[in-house]
């Protein structure tokens, strides 16, 4: 039972560090680690978070393991990364993370015109805000930096354990 649990945990963590294969429909265009692209794109979407030392990656690990986040939502994050990379290759012939900052913004502007792209950016922004502005216990909101940014004090009592 214990080993099964360990294996399960490994699989769940594995989701975040898993490889994303993107294609043009016929040929494989590249392989990227999910977590690498997420890190870059989240910083592109909200640089303020990095400035405040918000640990979004650690928070995203919680989301990928959360019992109350639907599998379809988790899949959508992953698919979005795949489609984002496909768009990057379509526009500039290299994966998203290999592009310059300004070109990455062009790709984001490109996908925002698609319905999936707008939804995906919307989702990513909401996770970024959860990481920044949730209770620091959830490991994103480093020393309440997100709250301090907006002059927010947090409600009392504060949670003592994570709700997962």
């Amino acid at each position: 039972m214990i080993s099964l649990n360990k294996r399960r945990t490994f699989l769940k963590v594995g989701f975040f560090s898993s490889a994303i294969v993107f294609t043009n429909g016929c040929d494989i265009l590249g392989v990227e680690k999910l977590s690498d692209t997420i890190k870059v794109v989240q910083n592109d979407l909200f640089p303020k978070a990095k400035e405040l030392h918000i640990n979004i990656s650690k928070y995203m690990n919680i989301i990928f393991q959360h019992s109350r986040v639907d599998e379809t939502d988790k899949e959508f994050i992953k698919n979005g990364i795949k489609w984002l990379n496909e768009e990057a290759v379509k526009m500039f012939e290299v994966p998203y993370t290999k592009l310059s900052k300004s070109k990455r913004q062009e790709v984001l502007e490109g996908i925002a015109k698609y319905r999936w792209g707008e939804n995906w950016i919307d989702n990513m922004m909401r996770y970024i805000f959860e990481a920044m502005l949730g209770d620091p216990l959830y490991s994103g909101n480093n020393e309440e930096a997100g709250w301090k940014w907006l002059g927010f004090k947090g409600g009392n009592p504060r949670p003592k354990e994570l709700y997962l």
């Binding site: 909200f46 959360h66 019992s67 109350r68 805000f129």
Partner: protein, 552 residues
């Protein structure tokens, strides 16, 4: 063991009976589907409470099927697990009363006589209540003392008669902006009413006073000041509460309920015997349990010889709106007042509880004003799109968020008016879909009457006048036919005629000698106020009836 009383559901509908009967020395057991939380366990964790719905069941395990009817009678079917649409409000000891804001208004005498006061409305099944205001008044007063209601009485055209001069607890402290509101109302000739709250302003009844946490609605109260059924009643009595107990069937024989079957968290079945059974699982679930408890004697569902179980489900009609106060238009003192957090807004208007548009008399309603919820993640999420509806990101978005949250604040309002009962608004059970217990899920058929929208619009426009007078910008409102899941009633109407009602005037099933339904299911119409005070009051009334019966 055979209990004197078995109560299904531990919320506002069942707990007054548990409290009264156990204090009178009877053996009482309460079966609650959810878990128990104490004050110590209630934190202000926005991620857990508001983003991940920790107090309601996962929809893949427990869901509803929802059929949304259009005015032409066609409907669209939604599977709750796929659409995310749900009507759960708080599966826990004390139910959703733990999570309410506790805006407490009594129903008014005219609410008990909607049919005879305002006449027939085509397409609506409006009837008068089986009791009148005078019969419920002593229990409204009892709730003020026992559950705890704070406020100050203000004279106005539609003020309901009171047997006591004032509230037992003084009004809670309010934010400075309420002065702007009061002034605006004075200018407009409206009567500003301090909203009574089921929140203790002083420590009493072994509960601590409100500590102005800034996070009241949607959250459990960490001081016990909020008058939840748990803090005010169940924690103050000796009734036995069994948690993780999902009641899936009631048995009956010879017009008597003989047992309540429940599954525990390991899906093991147990049975409770009692002399009297009280059903209070919240309106939708109470009807569902009766319909799922059909037997030889009641082939269409327990207590359903009339065919009325599940019918005439009602919500609160109306909607909400808001206006923003921006620093640019305010003095420095006003800016400070505006940003003061923790204190309540607590203002209501009832000037149009009844109004005439020149053609006919309308039953109107209540408008409650309150600051936008302090949840920081949800406030920031609202900034995600620009004025043209395009999604934003990056530094531009960061600046927008900063400006909005640090130099302005939103005042919101909620309109409450009658949701007229109609044929297509009801509860049934699905013949294929089951929940994690293997029990047929509830089907919620939703339909609203156009009259509700007309009244809601009228009231919202009055609220807008106040916001304009106060100097708010970005004023907006939405009156809609979508039902608020936390304001639900009906399904087991009470009445004097057993052929067209489920319960008698005592809330006892016409068909059964020992079954009472004491949540909001009994209400044939809901009044133009939130329901909780009335649910509590009626449950105390039913408690007296049961006590009288047992003492014989």
């Amino acid at each position: 063991m055979k209990y004197d009383i078995c109560i299904v559901g531990s919320g506002a509908g069942g707990s007054p009976i548990a409290y009264e009967l156990s204090n009178a020395g009877y053996s009482v057991v309460v079966l609650e589907k959810g878990k128990n939380y104490t004050e110590k366990e209630f934190s202000k964790d926005e991620l857990g409470v508001s983003r991940r719905d920790m107090f309601t069941p996962p929809l893949k395990e427990q869901k509803h099927i929802i059929n949304e009817y259009s005015q032409s009678g066609e409907f669209t079917r939604y599977d709750g697990a796929e659409s995310g649409w749900n009507f759960w409000n708080g599966s826990m000891v004390g139910g959703s009363s733990n999570l309410m804001s506790g805006y407490f208004h009594r129903m008014k005498p005219r609410d008990f006589k909607l049919r005879s006061s305002y006449g027939k409305i085509r397409g609506a099944n409006v009837v008068d209540w089986a009791i009148n205001y005078e019969e419920l008044e002593p229990y409204y007063e009892k709730v003020e003392r026992v559950v705890g209601v704070s406020g100050s009485v203000v004279k106005h055209k539609f003020a309901e008669p009171r047997s006591t001069k004032s509230f037992p607890y003084p009004a809670l402290q309010t934010n400075g902006v309420t002065k702007w509101f009061d002034k605006a109302c004075l200018e407009l000739g409206f009567v500003s009413i301090p909203t009574p709250r089921a929140v203790l302003s002083q420590s009493a009844n072994k509960r601590d006073a409100c500590y102005y946490s800034n996070f009241c609605g949607s959250y459990g109260c960490a001081s016990g000041a909020k008058g939840s059924a748990r803090a005010a009643l169940l924690q103050q009595c000796s009734a036995e509460v069994i948690t993780d107990a999902f009641v899936y069937k009631l048995d009956s024989k010879d017009s008597k309920v003989t047992g309540a079957h429940y599954y525990d968290e390991n899906l093991r079945s147990h049975t409770i015997s009692a002399s009297i059974f009280v059903l209070s699982a919240q309106a939708i679930e109470s009807s569902r349990l009766l319909l799922n408890s059909k037997n030889k004697e009641f082939p269409n569902g327990l207590a359903n010889s009339s065919g009325e179980v599940g019918k005439n489900l009602i919500f609160s009609a109306g909607g909400s709106g808001s206006g923003r106060f921006v620093f640019d238009k305010l003095t420095q003192t006003q800016q400070t007042e505006l940003m003061q957090t923790g204190l309540f807004f607590n203002r209501s208007l009832q000037d149009w509880y009844d109004y005439d548009d020149g053609c006919r008399k309308y039953k109107g309603g209540t408008i409650d004003f309150l600051f936008e919820h302090q949840n920081i993640i949800s406030r920031v999420n609202k900034e995600l799109y620009d004025e043209d509806g395009n999604i934003m990101w990056g530094d531009k978005l960061a600046k927008k968020i900063e400006k909005s949250l640090k130099t302005s604040r939103v005042l919101t309002f909620e309109v409450f008016n009658d949701w007229l009962p109609t044929d297509n608004c009801n509860v049934s059970v699905d013949d294929k879909q089951t929940d994690k217990y293997g029990v047929p899920v509830g089907v919620i058929n939703l339909s609203s009457h156009p009259h509700d929208l007309e009244v809601g619009e009228y009231l919202a426009k009055k609220a807008v006048e106040v916001l304009e007078e106060m100097g708010a910008v970005e004023i907006d409102y939405s009156i809609s036919a979508s039902p608020p899941p936390n304001l639900v009633a009906g399904g087991c109407r009470f009445g004097n005629d057993a052929t067209n009602s489920v319960l008698d005037k005592n809330c006892k099933a016409h068909d059964l000698d020992n079954l009472y339904v004491s949540d909001a299911s009994f209400m044939p119409t809901g009044g133009s106020v939130p329901y909780t005070w009335t649910i509590y009051a009626n449950s105390f009334r039913v408690a007296d009836i049961i006590k009288g019966r047992l003492s014989k």
